[in-house]
Every structure is written in structure tokens, then in C-alpha cells.
Symmetry: C2
Subunit: 100 residues, 2 copies
């Protein structure tokens, strides 16, 4: 999957499409969201669904889990910033969390 670099203006536009919860980091290099679920079962269910999407995109999150919480950071390490892939993975994670 090719990583298409995007500039700060486009990043802000695409951030709006992602909906509530997502933010661009202060340095502009990553997308972040803290997901909160009812328990570990739901949190890990979300992670499993997201992992399948990540593997398909060949683009993976940096994420931290503590029981019902999953803190997600998305960046394209080899481009040193945000690309199309980060927004695609963010959307997939929104879908993975839907209904949980």
C-alpha cells in the first residue's frame, strides 16, 4: 500500500471527516485518539478487529492498552509524518469500535 503524503491543510480537512475523538499531535506528525470501552473484552475485541485492518493496509498503529482503554497513535514512520494510510487506518478503527 503506497503511503501518499499529505500537508497540514489537508490533514486538518481530513481530521474533520474522522469525527469526534481524533486529534492531530502538536508537532503535526501523528493522529491520536483515546478509545474507552466497557471492559477488557470489548477493548481487545476492538484491537483484534483493528489488527486485521492494519495488516491488510500493511500499516500499523502504535497503541497502548490498559484494561478498557486503548490509546492510539498513528503515524507513517518511514515518511516521518502523516500520510493517507494514517487516515485510512483511523477510519477502519472507527468502524472497529462501532457498536462496542
Amino acid at each position: 500500500m503506497k503511503a501518499i503524503e499529505i500537508d497540514a491543510t489537508e490533514a486538518r480537512e481530513r481530521l474533520k471527516e474522522l469525527g469526534e475523538g481524533w486529534a492531530i499531535s502538536e508537532d503535526g506528525k501523528s493522529l491520536q485518539r483515546d478509545f474507552k470501552f466497557r471492559n477488557f473484552n470489548e477493548a481487545f475485541g476492538f484491537m483484534a478487529r483493528s489488527a486485521l485492518s492494519a495488516e491488510k493496509l500493511n500499516h500499523h498503529p502504535d497503541w497502548f492498552n490498559c484494561w478498557n482503554r486503548v490509546n492510539v497513535k498513528l503515524t507513517t514512520h518511514d515518511k516521518g509524518g502523516l500520510t493517507d494510510l494514517d487516515f485510512r487506518l483511523a477510519k477502519a478503527m472507527n468502524r472497529a469500535s462501532a457498536g462496542l
Copy 2:
């Protein structure tokens, strides 16, 4: 699952049983290990196996994943330190990583 508190001496003894990689944090309140795998597939496979064990023990890790790495911290939050459950989960995680 009842959390049996253990003191610093016992913790050091039990740390030896866990084998290479595990360490007790400086404040003595957590067990830590950084697992490294060949790729995300293996890292998340390890996490999925560990998650099943965690749910069975009703004791869950604090963990961070970035592609092939999983940084694990085990502590018993409601006891404010290490208990039997942390060492049981550590052993389960060793088993989960075996062969990966």
C-alpha cells in the same frame, strides 16, 4: 481470582523462575518485559494468546505495541503492587511467546 500479595524477597525469587527478559521495576511495584517478534503478525498473535489468558485470570496487562514490539508492564492496580497474579500472567505470556 484472588490476588495474593507478595513481598520483595519472594518477588525476587519468583523473578528467577520467569527466566530471561523479565525485570522488577525500580519501585518494586511492577514486572516488565519487552518482547520482540519478527513482525506484526507474530506480535499480535502473542497479544491475542496473552489476552485469552488475561481474561481467564481476570488480570490484565498494561502493554504497548509498535509493529513487532510489545512492551509489557504487570502490576496489581487495586493492591498497589505485585501479587501472585502478576507472576501467573507473566508465565502465561512466556508460554504465549514460545515458538514465535
